[in-house]
Amino acid sequence: MAPGLDALKHIVVLMMENRSFDHMLGSLKATNPLIDGLDGTQSNPDTQGNQVFVQPLAEFQSQLDPDPDHAFPAVDQQIFAGDQSAERVATMKGFVQSYYQQQQDLAHSQKIMYYFSADKLPVLTALANNFVVFNRWFASIPGPTLCNRAFAHYGTSFGQVGMSVFYPQGKSIYERLQDGGRTAKLYYFDQQSSSLEVVNLLQHQPQLFATYDQFLADCKLGRLSDYSFIEPNYSDHDNDDGAQLASDQHPDHNVQEGELFIASVYNAIRANPELWASTALLVVYDEHGGIFDHVPPPPCTPDGYSAGPTSTGLNYTFEFNRLGVRVPAILISPWVPKGGVVGTDRVFEHASIPATVTNHFIGSYTASTKREQNAQTFLDLLSLDAMRTDSVFFNT
């Protein structure tokens, strides 16, 4: 076994909200050509047929208001540019036209092509430059948040492609670990923000949950569980500590506050030397939020479910046989190579999370879906023979 895997005691996943790979990391292609980002030539037609090219003009807030549509029919349009024929091809040419439909404002619709310059995102940029970027991590479903988050918790969405309440028929990764004598924790930011998608677990398995303050304390005291899943703050609100800005980066929440939150999670692990040596942190986004990405989503292993026209809002049944739009994902550990990039030949999605955690902490688990069983795992990326002594640390 690689020494990094031998040392690995904790896996931490931070799942942010609604930003595409190109929007957040696309600019890094300029300094690292291995990253499959943007070179300025990527474009989409607007509703008048003019080509709208990508530009590094993304702002922290107020630009993507209203929230770009990312329900199943809208994402279908973004990927296939409105083509619903049987022979259609994923062109990634329908983003501007999709956003235009929300306001019929031509100039505003073009902002869906904007991306962040690297200097505006010092945290993500530093983490990408110092650790490992995935070139091909996709949302699990071409749809909205909750069905995608379900894949991170269960390895499937149980046939859901939307946001409705549903009660899973399978065991979450947290219950699997618990049953296997391992430990797991879901950390939500505070009670005002709470947890998304796993309300059924909050209701029936509250011992699996804690707040973000507890995560900070657990890191400091070396009490982190085998597996931790962290949720950012989903709203602007007040708590006993005062005003709290949303840190999830969901449009139109402030992206800089999300950067601070990512840095806070990283620092909490990095500040404890023993924890740093024995932890792998994955920062990943749940879905693209309707924002442009240039890589067509590939097909995937179906998980035995289907969603009919009533669920998809379109005139076809979705067989869960292709992925959603590409999202940012970075693996952080002192055991991964600096500036590493996972090649385009390896495709990951959110089912890779329970697959990886199960594989490392439990081993064989036959009750997972076929989709999860076929998902790529990522701990082989902890490939170094010796732990790195270089790293970064953030402060304000």
Binding site: D67, V199, L216, D241, A243, S264, A271, S391, V392, F394
Partner: protein
Amino acid sequence: MNTVPNRTKHKAQGPRSMLAKERIPRLAGDVSYITIPNPSSSTMNSNRPVSSLIRSQLQHLQHAESARLPKEKRDGRRPEDIGTEAEAASYIAKITNLLHPQGRKRSRSRPPS
């Protein structure tokens, strides 16, 4: 090079506690210290209309509230009547406290005003 920035008297809580200069540990190895900006305080907008995401969260929590409490003890607010993030946070905190009281923030001692 391992250079530790000057320490200040700035005090922070929550996520910012991990970023405040006085909390920076002396780390072994070659550590690059990166200063990141704070968002402007004017960006706070708890009156922002709730997104479809928070609207779904409200519905899920109301579902849990209905399962947990008899009708006469429920909050009574309907998700569709909640308009702003502040209003949503208030309801979400109430139901989350019902489901997970361990998540209640301990009151911090504050100096008299």
